[in-house]
């Protein structure tokens, strides 16, 4: 077996091929949603609630409407009645969803809640007019602290009857009483993760263009999933799916924030037929930090039981997550994943969980790279705390419990069956890259001179490439054009995941053509088959399957035509470098352009059974319900005990994502996720004050990691083939899963002489100094 789809020689798959996206993006020729400009286009701006919770007594739009250049000011009464259906395909129509009015109706439920939508001739005018919309608010008591939400008198959604969105439990704690009563060591802590967010450099945005004469709607979108935008919009407006076209060429990052249609976007869709002109809405950074959604913000009481040798006997997690006012989508199943995955890549004989989701009057929860990653944070931080309390080295504790390959497949006690992973191997590789023993001696030398170095580590196993329901298939169409040039059409769309380059590499190998002969067209629902987009670390594996299935059809045709032309057996024909030749006689070959000319222009001379043309479309259905991925993060740091400053020194990631399609792309994904995780551990906090006012709505307050803070990331690769196409696995999310606990553990290790326990993120200087002062 090779990593190649459709049996071609692997020339480009596995290579650090330069990206095909780069030429346009490096020269300012990309097309992001804000770059789209249509004749007569108008501009939108939202009026947003300044209160965490307020009754809307009335809205006076007259002054705004009177401003020259203002075309419309819509409120809930204008837009909300037009909603036909609103549900996301991933969760389905039967899900017990949060009521999600496009514009706030009667009550604003978080500071930033869209209350009115202004449409004007320029963004400047729209912002002017938004200031003139007079909303009569009556502030109401708000639910701000999610830990108190369940007991709060105020209800975020009166109609729901409770601030608990939902709850899912596994084996109850009481069923583990015997384990925890008899174990040699039982360690419990409550671990907290603060609110932080995907924060793509490009915010959300849409251009909607409705043609009343034809009933056609074109949407240019910043999205990770153009086909879902179309399908959602079709249901929302009751417009047939084929009357809607969604186009995205370049999306400026998403990381989960752009996988679902949110309320703001619904407003633009609903406004489109009323306006009679194209409308653009592109949120600014303040709106993005105020209203695009938050992630993380959760805590859990976690307990582990160990025998006298440190072998894990049981694990329990009691998890609560803040869903804000309008979580998108229904958050309860993601929360359950935290419970189910809590045992991680370890031998854990008994486990249980409860997972609770609560509403608050804050911005809604949205997906973010590894939405369930709290399980890894909680487990790995607890393991280090346990190791310290038991007097066992944290490496040794993990070695005693990590799963080995000969134990696979392994069903964790919550019913998750891991297979084709290598947690022991990635762990040992990462430690060897660090030289763990050498670091420990360096650390003890440093302590003698009052310097505090630390090492932290984390292991995780992650479900990638969901192979069921909405996510379970992916399509590719390939046209070998009459000249022999190849076009590959997949749903895709560039959002930073290098999916164009990936497709070109896969198709070039699958068809045996030069890479420069392949181009790809993506992100346009008018010409690509349905796909569930860049989510769930699925694009690589699913697209590899789609390209493999489709290329196989064309490959067979090319071989048949070549065999006839070259008067040889089909089995003796090879395709390479955009030519077909008889095995062992490359000089006798024929170019793919000549084969294509026969297919298109001499249909009468084609071999029996070979249809005219070289065009094919196939849809791949996933081979496996899930593809497991694992990795180890190890990092070292120095903490300045006087200032609380943390400096990361080395950062090592050993990941097993199967055979890599493009190592540069894989490492780029790992690095990006890792630095997002570092940001969450040390800097980023989407904070609110106690009245529910957001206090981090600029980049002066919401601190993203910069080039001065990030360590050089070192990569180790272990390769275990997945059951999917080419053996590839997903690699988009893992960095953000592994990094926070590795960083927390390194800081805690550095400060272990002070006897502090780190259970709250972010580890800002003030937080660290507060702990040291205790």
């Amino acid at each position: 077996m090779t990593a190649t789809p459709a049996g071609g020689a692997a020339r480009f798959v596995g290579a650090r091929v330069n990206r095909v996206e780069d030429a346009r993006l490096l020269t300012g020729r990309g097309t992001f949603v804000d770059d789209v400009s249509l004749p007569g286009m108008l501009h939108a701006c939202f009026v947003r609630s300044p209160f965490a919770r307020a009754a809307i007594q009335g809205i006076d739009t007259s002054a705004a409407c009177a401003l020259p250049g203002v075309r419309f000011v819509f409120t809930a009464t204008d837009l909300n009645p037009d909603v036909r259906e609103q549900w996301h395909t991933a969760v389905g129509p039967a899900s017990p969803e949060t009521p999600r009015p496009p514009l706030a109706e009667g009550e604003a439920r978080f500071a930033g809640d869209p209350v009115a939508l202004v449409i004007a001739e320029s963004r400047y005018l729209a912002e002017d007019a938004a200031e003139l919309v007079d909303v009569d608010y009556e502030p109401l008591p708000a639910v701000v602290d999610y830990a108190e939400a369940e007991r709060a008198e105020a209800l975020v959604h009166e109609s729901h009857g409770s601030n608990v969105v939902g709850e899912i439990a596994g084996v109850p704690a009481s069923a583990l009483d015997d384990v925890f009563a008899s174990a040699e060591h039982v360690v419990s802590e409550t671990i907290h993760q603060q609110a932080y967010a995907p924060v793509p450099m490009e915010g959300r945005g849409l251009v909607v263009d409705y043609s009343g004469a034809t009933g056609e709607l074109t949407i240019y979108a910043a999205t990770q999933v153009p086909h879902e935008v179309r399908l959602f919009c079709s249901r929302l407006l009751g417009v047939p799916e084929h009357r809607i076209r969604v186009v995205m060429r370049d999306t400026g990052g998403g990381f989960g924030q752009k996988v679902m249609v949110q309320r703001d976007e619904m407003c633009l869709m609903l406004a489109a037929p009323k306006v009679g002109a194209p409308v653009k809405w592109v949120e600014d950074r303040r709106e993005n930090l105020l209203a695009a959604g938050k992630s993380r913000q959760e805590h859990a009481a976690v307990t582990m039981a160990f025998d006298a040798d440190g072998a894990i006997e049981g694990a329990y997690i009691d998890f609560v997550q803040d869903c804000g006012a309008y979580p998108t989508p229904w958050p309860v199943t993601t929360a359950a994943a935290v419970g189910m995955l809590f045992p991680g890549p370890y031998r854990v004989p008994r486990a249980g969980f409860t997972c609770k989701d609560v509403y608050t009057n804050t911005v809604g929860r949205t997906a973010y790279r590894g939405p369930w990653q709290f399980e890894t944070l909680a487990r790995e931080v607890l393991l280090d705390i346990s190791a310290r309390r038991m007097g066992i080295d944290p490496v040794e504790l993990r070695r005693r419990n990590l799963l080995h390959r000969d134990e696979l497949p392994y069903a964790n006690p919550n019913g998750m069956t891991y297979d084709r992973i290598s947690p022991h191997e990635t762990f040992e590789q990462a430690l060897a890259m660090l030289d763990y023993d050498a670091f420990r001696s360096e650390q003890s030398d440093a302590r003698t001179v009052g310097r505090y170095l630390g090492v932290g580590m984390s292991n995780y196993v992650e479900p990638s490439t969901p192979g069921y329901g909405y996510y379970g298939t992916e399509a590719a169409s390939i046209r070998v054009e009459p000249s022999g040039a190849v076009n590959v059409y997949v749903a895709g769309g560039s959002s930073g995941n290098s999916i164009e380059t990936t497709v070109v590499q896969l198709a070039a190998d699958a068809l045996g053509v030069k890479i420069e002969d392949v181009s790809t067209i993506q992100g346009d629902t008018a010409v690509t088959g349905f796909g569930a987009g860049a989510a769930g670390s699925r694009s690589g594996s699913m697209t590899a399957g789609a390209v493999r299935e489709t290329a196989a059809v064309l490959r067979d045709r090319l071989l048949a035509i070549a065999a006839q032309k070259l008067e040889a057996d089909v089995e003796d024909i090879e395709l390479a470098d955009s030519r077909a030749h008889v095995r062992g006689a490359p000089s006798t070959g024929i170019s793919i352009g000549e084969l294509a000319a026969v297919a298109y222009f001499e249909p009468g001379s084609l071999p029996p059974g070979v249809p005219a043309g070289l065009e094919a479309s196939e849809r791949y259905a996933a081979d496996a319900p899930v593809i497991w991925v694992n990795a180890t993060h190890v990092c070292t740091c120095e903490v300045d005990a006087a200032t609380g400053q943390v400096k990361l020194l080395r950062y090592i990631v050993s990941e097993d994502c199967g055979p890599m399609i493009n190592p540069a792309v894989v490492e780029g994904q790992i690095a990006g996720g890792t630095v997002q995780g570092i940001g969450g551990a040390l800097y980023e906090h989407l904070a609110y004050d106690e009245d529910g006012n957001p206090i981090a709505t600029t980049f002066m307050d919401y601190l993203l990691p910069t080039a001065t803070e990030v360590p050089v990331i070192e990569y180790g690769h272990i390769e275990t083939r997945s059951p999917g196409p080419g053996g590839h696995k997903g690699v988009g999310e893992g960095g953000a899963i592994g990094a926070p606990p590795a960083v927390v553990n390194a800081v805690a290790d550095a400060l272990s002489p002070f006897g502090v326990t780190m259970t709250r993120l972010p580890l800002s200087p003030s937080q660290i100094l507060a702990l040291l002062d205790q």
């Binding site: 330069n18 990206r19 996206e21 780069d22 030429a23 346009r24 993006l25 490096l26 020269t27 300012g28 020729r29 990309g30 097309t31 992001f32 804000d34 770059d35 400009s37 400047y124 995907p198 924060v199 793509p200 450099m201 490009e202 370049d250 999306t251 400026g252 990052g253 990381f255 600014d284 950074r285 560039s494 959002s495 930073g496 995941n497 290098s498 540069a664 792309v665 490492e667 780029g668 690095a671 990006g672 996720g673 890792t674 630095v675 997002q676 600029t698 980049f699 002066m700 993203l704 990691p705 910069t706 080039a707 001065t708 990030v710 050089v712 990331i713 960095g735």
Partner: protein, 162 residues
């Protein structure tokens, strides 16, 4: 609102445009000149995506009004590569080193880096990190960007010697 005429040379082309005084240079370049390679990531001068060169200096075009550029020479990302499409050494280094993923912040990095390397042809790694600290990227973790800066600096020096 009254308008003011602005004379500005953008990527070598002279322009005279009438604009409202409150229009930022970024919006002027994007909307009036249709040079949409200059991106807006925060509109409050922190992310650096909108950086352009004004009389050679790297400037955040979201913090400057178009009228303030009157009489200036402006270079945007569209003016960095040669007119026949050859990438500049900085652009080529970003391509070679996987220094971009979604590409939204990239124009700001390229313009900032171009000015920095012109003024600091022999930078240390620390100087490179400091120089880039005012430009935010959310995709790459800066890994490829830092490698690209090193390559671009080293290539330029080799170029000088030959």
């Amino acid at each position: 609102m009254g308008e003011v005429t602005v004379h500005v040379t953008v990527n070598g082309r002279e322009r005279a445009e009438s604009v409202e005084p409150r229009v930022t240079l970024a919006d002027f370049l994007r909307d009036r000149c249709r040079l949409t390679g200059t991106h807006l990531g925060c509109e409050h001068g922190v992310c650096g995506a909108c950086t352009v060169l004004v009389d050679g200096a790297a400037v955040r075009s979201c913090l400057m009004f178009a009228v303030q550029a009157d009489g200036a020479e402006v270079t945007t990302i569209e003016g960095v590569a040669s007119s026949d499409g050859d990438l500049s050494p900085v652009q080529a280094a970003f391509r070679d080193c996987h220094g971009l993923q979604c590409g939204f912040c990239t124009p700001g990095f390229i313009t900032s880096a171009t000015a920095f390397l012109r003024d600091h042809p022999n930078p240390t790694d620390e100087q490179i990190r400091d120089a880039l600290a005012g430009t935010l990227c959310r995709c790459t973790g800066y890994q490829g960007i830092l490698r690209a800066m090193r390559q671009a600096a080293d290539t330029a020096r080799v170029g000088e010697r030959s």
